[in-house]
């Protein structure tokens, strides 16, 4: 097991390094002005530009720029163009909200995706399966911002139910439990909308995997033991089918974080997606570089965790 962990960790470190390089290059190599105010703006003097170039090390060769930016980022010296606060602290501020939102969305995606997938696989080839597939594609095709807006209009404006932000303002909660529930309520709707696409994709993976598994001999053995169909499916078949679900997380996590940009925007949820949106408006390149790096790193870590968890579930993986 430890050999497996070490191997996975090494891979993660290598990928993290590549990610940092890519993050750096996105901004540096993209043609266009590095100045947030535009190249030809006459109001900005040459001196200001020179200072800017010095501050962001734009005169040095590329590898040095990379090294500087990385160092600055982690030392909190990489500062936002907007308010000159360290970029990292701006990111860390918003991190818990994003983690809560995306983690919840992932749980919803995985659980409901599994249920839908098992349902489809169980009735493979029959109308229930076709219905399941259709519903899955319905979910994938649904534009997140559309459904979010309809919900916001419906609940907030038409019925006056507060769902924007992380908590209801202007209401005094009698105790911590009520306040906590309020926060969960504000988290839930955006998380559900965010998870819709994930439910669909995970259900497809699971359905395919489950159909394969159900052909195996040990499923026949389980039935011959007199086990009910439910036990056969959920105990014997499911545990052998979740591998694609785990690899699916690799595509799910970046998808969720991507989707959260729009969802956080609509629901006024103060997470990293919202930060990205604001950074684009302000042309805050340092923030953008750091943000890309951080979200990619989050995805990487998420994959690492899910692989490790899976290795606990299925011992054979450790021998690979």
């Amino acid at each position: 097991m430890s050999a497996f962990i070490i191997r996975r960790l090494c891979l993660t470190v290598v990928l993290l390094f590549i990610i940092s390089i890519i993050s750096f290059f996105i901004v540096t190599l993209t043609p266009g002005s590095p100045y947030p105010w535009g190249e030809l703006n006459p109001k900005i003097s040459a001196e200001v530009k020179a200072n800017f170039r010095k501050k962001f090390h734009l005169d040095r060769p590329l590898p040095e720029q990379y090294a500087f930016i990385m160092r600055d980022l982690f030392h909190g010296d990489l500062r936002s163009v907007k308010d000159d606060r360290p970029v990292l602290s701006r990111i860390i501020e918003r991190l818990p909200a994003t983690l809560a939102l995306n983690f919840t969305a992932m749980l919803i995606s995985l659980s409901f995706g599994t249920l839908l997938g098992v349902y489809a696989a169980r009735h493979a080839g029959h109308w229930q399966d076709i219905l399941g597939s259709f519903v899955a594609f319905l979910f994938i095709a649904l534009p997140g911002f559309w459904i979010s807006y309809l919900i916001v209009i419906g609940l907030v404006k038409a019925f006056g139910v507060p769902i924007l932000g992380t908590q209801s303002y202007g209401i005094d909660f009698p105790n911590a439990l009520a306040a906590g529930l309020d926060r969960i309520w504000h988290l839930l709707i955006p998380a559900i909308v965010l998870s819709i696409g994930g439910i669909a994709s995970q259900s497809r993976y699971l359905r395919a995997s489950m159909i394969e598994t159900l052909r195996e001999d040990y499923i026949r053995t389980a039935r011959s033991k007199g086990l009910s169909e439910e036990v056969t499916l959920y105990k014997h078949a499911l545990r052998n089918s979740i591998r694609p679900l785990i690899t699916g997380i690799g595509m799910l996590l970046p998808g969720l974080l991507s989707g959260s940009v729009i969802i956080e925007n609509i629901f006024a949820y103060p997470g990293l997606g919202r930060l990205g949106y604001e950074a684009v408006l302000e042309r805050d390149y340092p923030t953008l570089v750091a943000l890309n790096f951080v979200v990619a790193a989050l995805v990487l870590l998420g994959n690492l965790l899910s692989d490790l968890l899976y290795a606990i579930v299925d011992k054979r993986v450790r021998l690979e």
Binding site: R220, G226, L227, R239
Partner: protein
């Protein structure tokens, strides 16, 4: 105890239905052993799996006939009734032990599942169940059973896996054990050991055994009666000794002639010729 009458089963693909069993009738009494012998495609496995409706139902089509077990027609039984019979009264062991055991659960948990489902006389606590599991692992001849409890199937050899399957099947104390080619996938040396063990256990437990095989050679001493199947029908039935001595059907004769014998002077192995005429 078990009475199969005129069973007709087909397999559908697209629009057509290919017949697999063309009217099979067999009888098996309590504690008896019946061997079903035939080549691949003769329908012997289909017969075995059909008994508790283990054939996946598309594509299998149960066209006609009945399967009476202890007075009930299993073909007409409800799902709940069927589940009571499976495992508890009729248990199976299959040809490929390596794929017939669930790879992600320990052998203990898979045997325990059987015990918990069908043996209300065994205590629900961990100790009692472990003891029962160990008892059966011992009974099938697995050494140091206590240490192997938490092994996974892939950690065992083929012979051991099959022993585990037998232990699992027997732990429910079934009235009938259906063994579908239990030794075909195993080494010849292991085959003999497994078969001996089966014989021993059958005598001890007094259960009935339905043995499916293509190998005439192994049924001697194990099965009192034999039914020879060819192309979905039973072509000859009777006491094993009798059939071996005086086979009446040409197919049976050919099958017996195929059994390799020490001192056999024939240079070319006999073949079972085209028996379309039957």
């Amino acid at each position: 105890m078990l009475s199969i009458r005129d069973l007709k089963i087909g397999f559908s693909s697209g629009d057509s239905v290919t017949p697999a069993l063309r009217g099979v009738s067999l009888e098996l009494g309590r504690g008896e052993t019946l061997a079903i012998v035939g080549e691949s495609g003769s329908g012997k496995s289909v017969t075995a799996l059909a008994i508790t409706r283990l054939l996946p139902s598309p594509p299998a089509v149960y066209e006609e006939g009945s399967i009476y077990f202890e007075g009930n027609d299993l073909l007409k039984a409800s799902d709940a009734e069927l589940r009571r019979v499976r495992g508890g009264k009729i248990a199976y062991i299959f040809q490929e032990p390596s794929t017939s055991l669930n790879p992600v659960y320990t052998i203990r948990s898979q045997i325990a599942e059987m015990i918990q489902l069908h043996r209300p006389d065994v205590g629900k606590d961990r100790k009692s169940i472990d003891a029962e599991v160990i008892h059966w692992l011992d009974a099938v001849g697995i050494h140091e059973a206590a240490r192997r409890l938490h092994d996974y199937p892939h950690q065992l050899s083929g012979g051991m896996q099959q022993r585990v399957m037998i232990a699992m099947a027997l732990s429910a104390r079934p009235d009938l054990l259906i063994a579908d080619e239990p030794t075909t996938a195993l080494d010849v040396t292991i085959q003999a050991q497994i078969l001996d063990k089966l014989r021993e256990l059958q005598r001890e437990l007094g259960m009935a055994v339905l043995l499916i095989t293509h190998n005439f050679a192994i049924i001697r001493g194990l099965a009192r009666n034999v039914a020879v199947m060819y192309r979905g029908e039973v072509v000859e039935q009777g006491e094993t000794e009798q059939v071996l001595r005086e086979p009446r059907h040409p197919y049976t004769k050919a099958l017996i002639a195929c059994i390799p014998r020490l001192g056999d002077k024939r240079r070319r192995p006999p073949t079972i010729g085209n028996l379309e005429a039957l």
